[in-house]
């Protein structure tokens, strides 16, 4: 893990000449696939299934980009990254997109040289404790030992929260998700903290008996998660941004992977534009005019992705519903 950071740093040092000479979109097209940085294994967001195929909400963002660029959602190669490796991997050009439940913050947007394309999941940080400790509120956690992953906003929010409430805690900081959850489940820590989505996913996929663990009601931070690209390549930024928006827009228009073929001949002008029957939106993105059709046909709309990946683990749509249904998900118009 250190080695990878060191190599990335060395790559940043050695790469000849400034990178903006070639745009990422051209590089991806000539390479023939999208290189996508994902989580090393977070059920529902990015995790390989029993046949080694990557599945999850974050993975679907990468597949959507591949579908938009190549018309083939499978032209993606995945690089599993830990929380600590992820930014260096993106900065140094090891990956084209970082789609790894990454929180959008001002520091990352500016001094890290990154651009967040949007939000694919609105999250917040929470605490999970074993039920037998009989704890009802995060305010009762004074003196607790808390498992946390390093290099995350989680680690900082945790320290802030305890400082603000004049409480103390002992952190156990382990990088790999498997190791840190093992430490929690073996009782090394009283509490595991990460984004609530991560807690639900961990409880649903790794706990021996999920009912033995409860997630405390306090949500102590805003964690808008979304895909990230490098600063300074606006064309690629646009492609990734609109591939993600296309999934949201499709859900709002009622287009799914099942019904989009019938809608190819729709008379609704908005749908005609979206599927590429009229207009030249694809050309504006330097993509095929059926880019959005390909995304929805091959990957599905946002709701389909959510239901396939997150609903089985016990996730509710909540604030991640469309704005028309009381949530926060809102895509700018495709026109």
């Amino acid at each position: 893990m250190k080695a990878r950071i060191a190599i990335a740093a060395a790559a940043a040092a050695l790469a000849s000449g400034p990178l903006h000479a070639q745009s990422t979109l051209d590089a991806v097209k000539s390479r023939g696939y999208v290189q996508c940085g994902v989580n090393t294994g977070l059920a529902g967001f990015s995790q390989p299934d029993s046949r080694g195929v990557w599945k999850g909400l974050d993975v679907d963002s990468c597949r959507a980009v591949a579908a938009a660029v190549f018309g083939d959602h499978s032209k993606v190669r995945y690089t599993p990254l830990t929380a600590q490796q992820r930014f260096t991997a993106l900065q140094s050009g090891e990956v084209d997109i970082l789609s790894r439940n990454t929180t959008w913050t001002i520091t990352r947007d500016t001094s890290l040289g990154l651009n967040f394309v949007g939000v694919t999941y609105y999250d917040g940080q929470g605490f999970m404790v074993p039920k037998k400790l009989n704890i009802k509120s995060a305010k009762q956690l004074n003196g607790a030992t808390i498992c946390v992953q390093p290099g995350t906003t989680t680690e900082l929010n945790l320290a802030d929260y305890f400082r603000a409430n004049r409480m103390s805690f002992k952190p156990v900081v382990i990088e790999k998700l498997e190791e840190v959850t093992n430490a929690y489940f073996s009782g090394r820590c009283d509490v595991f903290t990460t984004d609530v989505s991560g807690l639900v996913s961990t409880r649903g996929s790794r706990a021996q008996n999920p009912a033995d663990h409860i997630i405390l009601p306090e949500v102590i931070s805003k964690e808008p998660l979304g895909p990230v690209v490098r600063h300074g390549d606006d064309r690629w930024f646009d492609v990734v941004k609109w591939a993600v928006f296309a999934m949201l827009e499709a859900e709002e228009m009622g287009l799914t992977s099942k019904n989009i073929d019938q809608n190819l001949t729709s008379t609704n002008p908005a749908i005609q534009r979206f599927v590429g029957a009229t207009g030249d939106i694809g050309k504006m993105l330097a993509l095929d005019n059926r880019w959005a059709y390909n995304v929805v046909k091959q990957v599905g709309n946002y709701g389909e992705s959510f239901e396939a990946n997150l609903t089985p683990l016990g996730f509710e749509r909540g604030i991640n519903n469309l704005w028309t249904k009381g949530g926060l998900m809102y895509a700018p118009p495709v026109r």
Partner: protein, 379 residues
């Protein structure tokens, strides 16, 4: 000929300098192009994260990145220094055990060496960590083998001597005793060289080293109070606490490095010619003195140089702490890099620190090696 050699060397130096300049300027240019912040200004900013173990230097999330990295450095030193001492002791014992005439002891030591040095250290650390966290009970059902000692998956809680004003004086008495014992030994050696009269240095020295602090302790009214660990809320408070992460790393480094040191010690002793034993015995020296005065000084010459590299290895291997969550220098520098995004600066700090530590150990051991080397021998 001379001129050509000089020109070649000059060209080589120029090439090396050019490579350095190229890498540095290219890095700066690329960072600039990608709008990534650079420089060391971040060190003064507030770190904002907590550290699990910060002995000797108080630390809170409100402190700076520089202080956080310093805490990491102290943690690295702590585990490396204790590890070096323990590994040397265990390794020496194992090395001598391999040479023992007792068949069982020799074979057991050989088995230990072969197993430990052929299993990767990282695997051993994961194994040890799992053994500690999975097998020990939670703090509420902690095992208590001795009163005041608690074993749980939060580590080992021990009673600690409650601080008292007389402790500083006792420490001073210990230091004074050690200095006096050293002077006494020097005087005795010189007297024996001049007159042949031996002096019971060991007994007198021990009396000085132990007696002086004891006298001060009694004079101060024997202040002996212990701070007992107690279960408070989630964890033990009071007393001393040895965390599972520290115990795992220290244990792993000690057990692994001791296997290598054992082989070095064995090789060193075996490198001394049999004739040296026989000569010493024929002079009538008893076995213990033969070892101390004849064999060990010669064996040390063989032992010290490879031992130095084992010390360096142990120190550098301590960076595997990252894997099990012990907050060493690398772990904290990694977190810093990730929070600030300044990987190149972070890696530079790590490299500079390890280089400094390693060169210091090398310098110290080389100095010691020169002291014990054969006078007049070629280096």
């Amino acid at each position: 000929m001379r001129a050509r050699a000089a020109a070649l060397q000059l060209a080589l130096v120029a090439a090396v300098l050019f490579v350095f300049w190229y890498v540095a300027s290219n890095t700066a240019q690329n960072l600039e192009a990608r709008k990534i912040a650079s420089g060391f200004a971040f060190l003064a900013r507030e770190a904002g994260f907590e550290i699990g173990e910060a002995p000797f230097l108080a630390y809170s999330a409100a402190d700076s990145y520089a202080r956080a990295i310093l805490v990491g450095l102290i943690n690295t030193f702590r585990v490396a220094l204790i590890g070096i001492v323990l590994a040397t002791m265990l390794g020496t014992l194992l090395g001598l055990a391999r040479l023992s005439r007792n068949w069982l002891l020799a074979k057991l030591a050989a088995l230990y060496v072969e197993v430990m040095r052929n299993v990767p250290l990282l695997v051993q650390l994961f194994f040890l960590y799992a053994v500690i966290t999975e097998n020990f009970p939670g703090p509420r059902d902690a095992l208590s083998p001795l009163p005041g000692v608690f074993l749980s998956n939060r580590g080992i809680a021990l009673p600690l001597l409650a601080p008292h004003a007389a402790h500083a004086w006792i420490g001073a008495a210990l230091a004074a005793g050690a200095v006096l014992a050293w002077l006494l030994a020097r005087w005795a050696r010189r007297r024996q060289a001049l007159t042949g009269q031996p002096f019971p240095v060991f007994a007198a020295g021990a009396a000085l080293v132990l007696g002086l602090p004891l006298a001060v302790f009694l004079a101060a009214g024997a202040p002996f109070a212990l701070a007992w660990p107690e279960l408070q809320g989630f964890n033990f408070a009071g007393g001393a606490n040895l965390t599972p992460e520290f115990a795992t790393l220290l244990g792993g480094l000690t057990l692994y490095t001791a296997a290598f040191i054992a082989e070095i010690v064995r090789a060193g002793v075996q490198a001394v010619d049999r004739g040296q034993f026989e000569a010493a015995y024929s002079l009538g020296l008893p076995r213990r003195r033969t070892m101390r005065l004849v064999i060990l000084p010669q064996a040390l010459r063989v032992i010290i140089p490879p031992l130095t590299s084992q010390y360096l290895n142990l120190t550098k291997n301590s960076s595997l702490a990252v894997a099990i969550g012990y907050p060493d220098l690398v772990s904290i520098a990694n977190t810093t890099m990730n929070q600030t995004g300044q990987a190149i600066e972070g890696i530079a700090i790590i490299m500079a620190v390890y280089l400094t530590i390693s060169l210091s150990i090398s310098a110290l051991m080389n100095w010691y090696n020169r002291r014990i080397a054969l006078k007049g021998a070629r280096a």
